[in-house]
Subunit: 386 residues, 4 copies
């Protein structure tokens, strides 16, 4: 059983926790989406009695997302969701704003905040320039958060943008503040995997190949999830079905059908076009399934993947990129990295999240409180299952 | 050349105009989407100097759209658009709110207004009940309207809801107030077609068929469009390319690429399921093409179709409907009605819209001023083309 | 660790094997797709030196599939595949022929055989009647089978149809004869799950609900897979990653990228429409992921789901069905059953398949030879991983 | 009314016919898909009593389509069709074989012929190389052709390949031999349009732009259609609804619902990726709609677009292309060219096709016999409509 030292970088995880490491690929130095160079993450967290919610922002690069658009694509694994901006991403294959995450009822407010931000940067937006496509993902944090209170404002979106950096807090922060996952406290999780794509070194006729132009190389895939899905009895960690055992520990679990969701963002520095990024995004579903999800009816399970390897200029007054994309037959390494980093990010979200009490006395316990020592717990459980 | 008397029912069209009647199918009594029984339309119009915008609402029935969901489906013909709510409609095949239309930057505000409306009607929304899926379509009215002013508020959405009725004002009203189409004044248009679906009267073995259960019957298809698309040189009315002639009449037409869009809503009382409604919605593209559109890159061309023949209960505490859907082989009549009513609705939008002056002295002329007598104009133009 | 007695019903599995039982739902009496009443399966197997291939046929009911069409839908999880007939299933949501499975190069031959079969049954096919939509799924069995030999003929398709019955042989039979999975012998596997959908028993106002019409009830979901995917190091059985251990046992495993595929058929007696069946089909991807797949680039991973609860008449000379579909909020049980039965069917395929030697001395070993006693193997492996 | 001299280049059209020229864009020198450099077309025609069918092949370039794959994408406008190969084109965005067109029941045979062709060229196909993805489009020519006779063989596919060249015969040739369109004789039609994409000449800050790298340039879009769709009363030529007048000329028109289809192939030398090509392909639907189609239920209306601007190597042993794609905002010219060339190609198909008598005395009249002088006919009809 492979494990890895865990450090949430100023996050909320219990010091010294040792968690399972999913798969064989190594993590990047931060084990975070920000291992993809240029990517930053910021949170604004609202935690005040019945208000337990927030905004999280992911930037693909440090520049202007409107003038230098990164290629992107969406995979709607289960479309019970209210995210905005997906129609245009599917058609045009680019991002135009930071990616925002928040609660379901704050989507309109945050979308308007993104419009204001673009107008501020580009006075012609919606006038002589086209309009901008807000991109806001959401999950319903209504179990802990008084979602009807509509507490998120324009200022929270801006605060999350201002807070963006390479260190990623995980757990009950930002958009993850009020989220539940497997009837435990869920929220933000992140992880990364590094993969070396090696093509052939010789042509079919035996002559040696130059390294350049063959699309081989070392790349990073990073995932950031907003985990708000799952029923506890189904929880599976690194292949071990821990849910039933944990469910016995918790009295009074509600029997409602799942009303959650998960948003799965994937970043990579591998040069992929939008069609290839859609393929990458759909592999998030494989990582998700391994945690015990069957993409429940009421769970909006949506993935988005973007590449930082090049940008597309807003206007044709600058040259289009001339980048060799990864050869299709070399994608498997990236697919593995996508699935593994998503599963790992879900594990990080669960173990990073502290217990939170929200509206009407609702409480979600922290997995880190229930299972402070994963290795011992897993050993015991494996033994009892035999 | 078939024509039809035109009456916008308290709208803005020039009295006595006689317009082409698209196709062979008869219109319903109102030649409006409200010919589908139960459907109502309401507008809130903002017309004050640089503020030329609004909200339009379409209700599928008089009841609660959340508890009694009508089946629906979307066809994204060109996805350069910021409409919200489509992901869930595609997954679940139902509407949960009134359908709202507005300008691009007001989408967030109107979506939040729809959430508030649902919470008001159902206190458990987002708590013990699932969240609600706002459904807001948009076009960019930024040529006439100071779109950056974000003038639309929650109150305008409610006012449009309150104003809903069977009489449909057309042209520069509601969401159509600031819209441009073919560089003329565009906006709201509506039309309807009646179709009689006749299946076989005998079985294959020759025995007579009972009328019931064979899915034959008389049905109505109604269209409502928010027309904000097109370059004038391409304008084609009932097959006659009038654009170049009209373009010569107007000095100083901007040469910008198209930045418009069109939203096309289709209602029918024919019993169709969501899969069939998606097929119906996609036929809106045929009607649109006949007006001179090739679904321009920057034009968000989106269609949605719904049926009023039955509803689906929000919770499984009431029986599911047991309705015989229209047999697939009888759909052609409905497809023809969809294409024809969309083309007719675009014609209505153009001829109903009065000239509007908006921000920065921008003006869109009214087609009714340029072509007060269609029949005479068409006769003259046909002659000159020969 | 739950296990279940295993009986391939005249199949090729080692007598007395005890295999893991995936999930909490009970299997049907046969643990096979034929637990869905009316469904039958037939094989034609070609096993002669370098020819190791075949045809498998699944019938949705005993009647004529052309005149009484069952509702169906497809989920293309990874579209690196050459299956035919999917375009029309996606548009019309029905099947018109038996479902055929075969090798990649035999698709054309079997499609033509299906056309001949329909012409034989309906002399007007393609004349006064429309043409028929052949439906043939495929995987590439070229490692064991001399696929270039094009050995499958019209007669083999007919033989598979003639052999159809409720007892399902598994493993290296029919279309599965030459298939490889996880670099072991793969092929045909089947399984089923029973699920009780229970809606509320009282209305929101507290009055008791009649049982009928609430869509609740007991249903079966059955899966049949053609397993030809996977790299051995990734193999995961019931959450336990057995691949690396098994890979050490086998010398000389080829290092090629995956060139496999998996076809996953799902049958249910629950009344679902085509939109709901698409949702069900996509859950096959969750079951697949749990076995270690990340939907590899070169793996055509395709699922199809159909319902036997009603049929749609070919012509509108018979009434359309008036069936209450399952309420959307009750689908989770069926989704779980779909994922679990697909994972179980893959396990059955692997353990049922005998070792096969094919072209050019290529051999695929049988998992049942490597792991004759699952429980002991799993116990040992769990211990060593701790 | 713009018209153009018409020359089918050794085709079957009446000498000296002058046909309407659709739109404002100029045609290429051949007014054919082969105006896109490198594209060739070949036919094999079977015309013998009740056998009236054939095969048409379109090559994207003169090289090996398997080792040098052109980018491509599909738009399924109405999926009532049995074409094969679309699933993989949608996933991978490339062609691997010549594009073949034939009758509905010959799809299997031609797909197998394509496999044989690839095996002949690449001995490892399906062994150490992956399998090949056959790509065969079809329409049902069963009104004239004894489709049940399965007359098309492997040799006909090879003959069509051998006959491929830059001169394109139109009308009742190749796969078009037995096709009907608007209850007249249909078949193969082709056309092209040239378009000059001009981006800005100065940057936003006013500095002049270098010509290179801005994606501007002169490009060709070519269309080839297999026209087998439409009911005569709906026929519309260049905006003029000629159908009702023509229908009066023909006694005994069958009243059956449409059972046709149309395949629309688009080639371009503009550098587009697969996502952009899907956008281009969908514009075929606009050209189709202008001829009077509403994408009838029973009509398989499918478009495919490919670019010849670059190829993708089969294996990663050669560099991937580093080509600047056309900037998204410059696509409108190509979209217009796609719609116009498809409409023009349908007109060419109708006027090129000679009258054919097929099985059971069935006859389809030639439009060129009914309307030998388009200009005079259009003048007369326009006058009478006023």
């Amino acid at each position: 059983m492979s494990t890895t030292a865990f450090d949430t970088t100023a996050g909320t995880a219990p010091r010294g926790a040792v968690l399972p490491h999913v798969g064989d690929l190594p993590a990047g130095p931060r084990n975070a989406i920000t291992d993809v160079a240029g990517v930053t993450v910021g949170h604004a967290t609202l935690a005040d009695g019945p208000v337990q919610t927030g905004v999280t922002v992911v930037n693909a690069h440090a520049g202007d997302p409107f003038t230098d658009k990164v290629p992107a694509a969406v995979a709607v694994i289960n479309g019970f969701g209210k995210s905005v901006g997906l129609v245009q991403v599917e058609e045009l294959g680019v991002l135009e704003t930071p990616i925002a995450l928040t609660n379901t009822f704050a989507v309109g407010t945050v979308a308007t905040a993104q419009i204001r931000q673009c107008v501020l940067n580009h006075a012609g937006t919606g006038r002589d320039l086209p309009t901008v496509n807000p991109l806001v993902f959401e999950c319903n944090d209504g179990f802990l958060n008084d979602i009807q209170g509509l507490a998120v404002t324009d200022a929270h979106y801006r605060a999350a943008c201002d807070a963006a950096g390479e260190d990623v807090q995980q757990g009950a922060v930002g958009a993850g503040r009020g989220m539940s996952s497997f009837q435990l406290k869920g929220g933000i999780g992140t992880a990364s995997r590094r993969v070396s794509l090696s093509g052939p070194t010789r042509k079919e006729d035996g002559t040696p190949l130059p390294a350049e132009g063959t699309a081989a190389g070392d790349y990073t895939v990073g995932a950031l999830v907003l985990a708000n899905f799952g029923k506890l009895p189904n929880l599976t960690i690194d292949g071990l079905r821990v849910g039933p055992t944990l469910a016995m520990k918790l009295a009074g679990l509600e029997q409602d059908p799942e009303k959650g969701s998960i948003i799965m963002l994937l970043a990579t520095d591998a040069p992929l076009d939008a069609r290839q990024l859609r393929r990458l995004a759909s592999r998030a579903g494989a990582g998700l399934a391994r945690t015990g999800s069957v993409y429940g009816h009421g769970s909006g399970d949506i993935a988005l993947a973007f590449s930082t390897a090049y940008t597309l200029p807003h206007l044709p007054d600058r040259p289009m990129p001339t980048v060799a994309m990864v050869h299709e037959t070399l994608l498997d390494g990236l697919f593995q990295a996508a699935a593994d980093s998503v599963e790992q990010a879900i594990i990080h979200a669960l173990w990073s999240a502290e217990s939170v009490q929200g509206r009407d006395g609702h409480v979600r316990p922290a997995l880190a409180d229930l299972v402070p020592d994963w290795a011992a717990f897993a050993r015991r459980l494996s033994g009892s299952l035999q």
